[in-house]
Symmetry: C2
Subunit: 127 residues, 2 copies
DNA sequence: CCTAATGTCTCCTGTAACTGGAAGGTCAAG
DNA sequence: CTTGACCTTCCAGTTACAGGAGACATTAGG
């Protein structure tokens, strides 16, 4: 199957599939006589795997690791868990930062009358 | 004052201050005879303003708007409030996404035994 | 069989907001 | 006078692609 069909099957844009091949994440198996990338079912499964992992917020490098574990029949689940746990902690750290930001900003927005007059606690806080 | 002094006073790396001048966000007033950027108190105030706004997660373009409002004596607080409110909604949207992600991933991590055996609900969910 | 539309190829550029480094000029201290 | 800190410009790299140009391939319709 050509790249367009494979991309649609995996739920990814063609550009992205080509990009994944460029960086050696999910190579197409071979090329047609005229140079078209040919994809098979296994490649599509890998592409879809990466798409789902990306949806979970895993970075490309994390996807690379997860993919090799996915392919490795003798992997141990602890390796996967370690990556997922680390990612989870990153998410939690980001959540803490966002929450702090949100509260302070919400406080300022609430304090700002938002009328035609120039005085504004938001700018006062920044200046 | 030279760029190093100004950067330190504003709490920014020198590279960043130069970058802000390149993109026309906070220009240095003028240059010394040998081409050094000279900064004055007003410029340092603007740099520090931008740093705080960036800490709040405002984008450079939002900083540009806020800065022009900061400089504008006849601004209305509603303009500032509009920008801050929009930014707050972006933060809230990101919080929702992160929370959904966190819950699903935490669930998977919890379900994964993390031992030496190959079966792993995390990979099953991705594959 | 011809044509038009669509698919695919490579290569280049741009995104956001910087950071790092190289090569070279300037300045103050010892 | 020299050393070291500071300054300059320019170029490249970061993340994960997206957009587009120009050219070749394939396919569907008439």
């Amino acid at each position: 199957m050509n790249i367009g069909t494979a991309a649609k099957a995996a739920g990814l844009p063609v550009k992205t599939v080509r990009y994944y091949a460029d960086i050696g994440l999910v190579d197409a198996p071979d090329r047609s006589e005229t140079g078209y990338r040919r994809y098979d079912e296994a490649a599509v499964r890998k592409l879809a795997f990466v798409r789902r992992a990306r949806d979970f917020g895993f970075s490309i490098e994390e996807c690379r690791e997860l993919l090799s574990l996915y392919e490795d029949q003798s992997r141990s689940s602890s390796d996967v868990r370690r990556i997922a746990q680390a990612h989870l902690e990153e998410i939690e750290e980001k959540q803490r930062q966002l929450a702090a930001l949100h509260d302070e900003l919400a406080h300022l927005v609430k304090a700002c009358r938002g009328d035609d007059r120039p005085d504004c606690p938001i700018l006062e806080r920044l200046g």
